[in-house]
Symmetry: none
Subunit: 218 residues, 2 copies
DNA sequence: TTCGGCATACCGGTTTACCGGTAGTTCGCG
DNA sequence: CGCGAACTACCGGTAAACCGGTATGCCGAA
C-alpha cells in the first residue's frame, strides 16, 4: 500500500524538485502540492492523505498555524515540518502544534525519507542538528512548553502579518475583522512581549520563526 | 553532447531535489553540487562546467560575489541566479556580476529549464515576475546598470539604526544631526530600495547583513 | 568651471502607529 | 452557574512615519 503524501511550500520550484525526488521511491505517492496554508487545508478536505510535508516559513498562514488547523480537522494525518532554520522555539512550537517530524532543508534528503518512515509508524523524528539543539536547550530550561511568550493563535497570525509589512487596515481586510481589533491584538502582543514598535515586532517575528527572514515579491 | 551543470545552494535538500528533477532531462548532466561559494570555486577549477545554477542567499560568500569571482576565472561559464526573492537590486547586481539568467524559486521548475536553454545559447533569461519588476523600475530610473540603488555609507548607518528600532529623533541625537535630515535619509533609502515602511526596511537590513539577527545559541 | 552626488535642513500635509480607556460576545472550565 | 480567557469593537489623543517639495554648502569628476 502506497503512502499518500502532500507537499506544502511557497516555492513552486522546491515543490517540483522535491516531488521528483520522492517519486523515485516506489512506496511513496505524491497526491498534491500546496503553495500556502489555505490551499493545504482545502486539499486535505478533499482527498485521502497519510503524510503532509509542510514548510514552516510560508507567507500568510505559516506552517505552524496550518499544522494546528490541519490536525484539528484530520488528527490522523502525520505532519513533518520542513524548514530552513533550526531555531529552538520554532521546533517546540511545531511539535506542540502536533507535528511528529522536523527536518531542516540544510540536511540531506535522506533525512526526509527517514522522517517519513518514522512518522508513518507514529513515531517522532527530528533530524540530527535539530534534536541536538533541542537537547542542549533542555539542559537549561526544564519546561519549554510553558515558557516564553504565550501568544494566542490569533495574535501569532496578526504578528506575522505585521512583520510582513502590512498596515492594520490591510490586516483587518485579510482577516475580515475591524482595524480597531487588529490594533488591540497588536497592543496585546506588544504588552506580552515587552516590545514597543513594529520594528521590534518584526525582529521578534523573524527570530522566533513566526515570519521567514525573506519573503517573495517586491 | 550533454550540458555539464553545477548546482550551488546552501540547502542540501534543495540541491538533491533539484538534481532529481534536472536528471529527468536527458541532455543535462549534473556534475557537482556546492554548499557555498568557496566550494563552488574549487569545483569549477577542477572540472569542465558549462552552466552554474547558483543561489543568491548563501551564507558566507553570497551568490553575487561568487559569480563575480567565478567569471573572473572562467568567463565562458553561463551563470543562472536562483533566489527566493525578486528584489530588484539583487537582480541588477547579479546581472552586473555577469550572470545571464535569473529565476525565483517561487516560479515553476520549467522556468529553470527555459533559463538553461536560453543561457546555453548565450542569451539572457529573466523569469516573468523578475522581468516585470525590472521593467517597472526602468520607468523611474533610466540607468539601472550603474547600480544607482547602492546605499551610501551614511544611509547604511541610518538604516541600521532604524532596523534597531530607533525613532528618527533618537537617530538624530545619536548622529548629531537634525531629525529632518534623518527623515530625508530614510526616504532616500526607501526610494532606492523600493520599500515603503520600516518593517520592510528592517527585513532588508537583516537579510542584507546590515543588521544581524542575534541567535541565542539555538 | 560647471555638473552631479552627498549630506545637511526645513516646509506642509496625510496616514499609521502607539497608548489609554470601555465593553460586548462566545466558549470552556471548575 | 459564575468566571476568566479570547476575540471582537469603539472612543479619544499624541507621536511617529510617510510623501511631496525646496534649498544650501561641499566636493570630486567631467
Amino acid at each position: 500500500m502506497k503512502l499518500n503524501i502532500v507537499l506544502a511550500d511557497d516555492h513552486q520550484m522546491f515543490r517540483h524538485a522535491l516531488r521528483a525526488l520522492l517519486e523515485k521511491e516506489p512506496h511513496l505517492n505524491i497526491v498534491a502540492e500546496a503553495a500556502d496554508g489555505e490551499a493545504l487545508l482545502r486539499i486535505i478536505g478533499e482527498q485521502a492523505v497519510d503524510i503532509v510535508c509542510i514548510d514552516i516559513g510560508m507567507p500568510g498562514m505559516n506552517g505552524i498555524e496550518a499544522t494546528r488547523r490541519l490536525l484539528a480537522l484530520r488528527p490522523e494525518i502525520r505532519v513533518i515540518g520542513l524548514s530552513a532554520y533550526s531555531d529552538r522555539q520554532f521546533v517546540i512550537d511545531l511539535l506542540n502544534a502536533g507535528a511528529l517530524g522536523y527536518v531542516t532543508k540544510a540536511e540531506a534528503s535522506e533525512e526526509l525519507l527517514r522522517a517519513i518512515h518514522h512518522v508513518q509508524q507514529g513515531r517522532t523524528y527530528l533530524c540530527p542538528d535539530v534534536s541536538g539543539a533541542v537537547a542542549s536547550a533542555l539542559r537549561f530550561d526544564t519546561d519549554l512548553r510553558a515558557s516564553s511568550h504565550t501568544l494566542t493563535a490569533r495574535e501569532r497570525q496578526v504578528l506575522q502579518l505585521i512583520a510582513e509589512g502590512h498596515t492594520s487596515a490591510r490586516i483587518a481586510e485579510r482577516l475580515h475583522i475591524a482595524a480597531s481589533t487588529v490594533e488591540v491584538h497588536r497592543r496585546n502582543i506588544m504588552r506580552k512581549l515587552g516590545l514597543h514598535n513594529v520594528v521590534e515586532l518584526t525582529r521578534y517575528a523573524i527570530h522566533s520563526g513566526i515570519s521567514p527572514v525573506v519573503d517573495d515579491g517586491a
